[in-house]
């Protein structure tokens, strides 16, 4: 028998079985829809967590203050040395003039301070470097490095590194971020495994209900793929339809949760923006996961009935 004829018959029986076992198909689609929806929700929650953690991360920095006598070359030398460190994400240079402007804008309403500043005449503020690490846990290493260069010629003009003042707060924040990340990923993994198990068992039940039918197919001498094929086609249909349902349903869902997510994450994460900007990724991932779950579950579940 030609492969084409064989495939055509398998596909036809898969489709027929899917339609005629309407209630069973509906149950399987429903369970896969819930599974995929949970997965999509977990992806969104994970993205929201990452976004929030990133925002928190970005708020932490270490500042290095230079004396007013420090030359631009001294500051740039330290800046270049810091940028060469693998843990440093960004080093921002703040010139003495910018530091003064920033100071004035912050304390503009404090008349006494402004008068004192005016009486000084010269700019009392030196240059500074604002350092942002790739990971909050790396600030200690950067601070240690700065302490080591402070005694060397390169860092002789450094007057202050503010890490030690903020050390406790930074480390606590670093711990919170790290713990949140671990708990978040562990939760996502556990829920995903649970969802996959539920989906697999649902498909297994659909095949269990057809065990007598499979027995008859074996009895008349049907080949393994002739028995297995239609169930795998039905699995593809369960997964694809469930995937499509979730893709469609996620739009109103993310629109509905958008204002709440905006408030909760202080503008760091908006569900609707995230969904629309990652639509194709969601579409292909959900469809692909649905189809893979359907086919793989069918393939595994039917094995025990093939003799």
């Amino acid at each position: 028998m030609s492969v084409w004829l064989h495939s055509k018959r398998i596909a036809r029986y898969g489709l027929i079985g899917f339609i005629r076992n309407g209630f069973v198909s509906l149950s399987a689609i429903l369970m896969l829809t819930i599974t995929l929806f949970v997965m999509a929700g977990l992806v969104m929650a994970s993205a929201a967590l990452s976004s929030t953690l990133k925002q928190l991360n970005d708020k932490v920095d270490v500042n290095v203050y230079f004396s007013v006598k420090a030359s631009n070359d001294d500051v740039q030398g330290v800046k270049l040395a810091l940028e060469a460190l693998p843990d440093v994400a960004q080093v921002t240079y703040v010139s003495p003039d910018e530091a003064l402007a920033l100071f004035r804008s912050r304390h503009g309403t404090d008349q006494v301070t402004m008068q004192a500043l005016d009486q000084l005449g010269d700019n009392p503020l030196g240059a500074s470097l604002s350092i942002r690490a790739k990971n909050t846990s790396k600030y200690q290493d950067i601070a240690n490095y700065l302490e080591s260069v402070q005694t060397a010629a390169l860092g002789a003009s450094i007057t202050k590194v503010n890490f030690n003042q903020n050390k406790t707060a930074i480390q606590r924040l670093s711990d919170i971020i790290e713990t949140s990340r671990r708990v978040g990923y562990a939760t996502v993994i556990i829920f995903m495994i649970a969802s996959v198990i539920i989906a697999f068992n649902t498909i297994r039940l659909t095949i269990y209900t057809a065990r007598d039918e499979i027995g008859v197919m074996n009895l008349v001498g049907a080949g393994k793929w002739y028995v297995r094929g239609p169930f795998m086609i039905a699995g593809v249909l369960y997964g694809a339809i469930a995937g499509l349902f979730v893709v469609v349903f996620l739009y109103p869902f993310s629109a509905w949760t958008a204002p709440g997510s905006d408030r909760l994450f202080a503008g760091a994460f908006n569900t609707l923006d995230f969904y629309t900007s990652h639509f194709l990724l969601f579409f292909f991932t959900l469809m692909g996961t649905g189809v893979a779950l359907g086919v793989l579950s069918s393939f595994l579940a039917i094995r025990r009935y093939l003799r």
């Binding site: 004829l5 027929i16 008859v216 009895l219 008349v220 001498g221």
Partner: protein, 228 residues
Amino acid sequence: MILYDNVSKIYNGGSTTVALQNINLSVEPGEFVSIVGHSGAGKSTLIKLLFAEVIPSEGTVFFGSKEVAKLSQQELRALRRNIGTVFQDFRLLPTKNVYENVAFAMEVAGRSDDDIKADVPHVLELVGVIDKMWNFPHQLSGGEQQRVAIARAIVNQPDVLLADEPTGNLDPINTHDVVNILKKINDLGTTVVLTTHNKVVVDSVGRRVVTMDQGRIIRDDKSGKYTL
């Protein structure tokens, strides 16, 4: 054609059950053999050994020159396509209509769509359910379902038709019709092995009768009647 050579079958479950003991039996091509006996005599096990739904504990079962228990998966499927089977509980595919149930057996045998379109109505006509071709099994009576099962069993023109209590769930009229169909199939050259405990059926067939009791063959009459 079919040979049971000193075959025994012991089921080991919670307790040990001896289903068959030292069975020696041969069936020649074109024969119509009725295997009779009380429930639990071992008739169904004897049938199931032929298409390897059950494997013998001792002895060997041959179909032609091949030992059934030693066939590969592929050879076994080929054997099953060459044996028609009919059971008391019909064993039709519930989600397929009558046409599809019969066509399925032809499809797995690799027959073309044209052959299927030509042969399925013909065989349904032969067993008298052509008017139910598009019905589903649950829409048919027991007798009609058994006719469909017979149609499926014979559509590939198998060498042997195994009928395990085919009239067990049928009323006398349908029983009579089914037996007549089996006789007609045998007249066309197919070997038929029928198990039953229905005296009327065996007496109406009037061919070879093998009588079983407690897993043993106790009588083998070339042209017998039901005697227990």
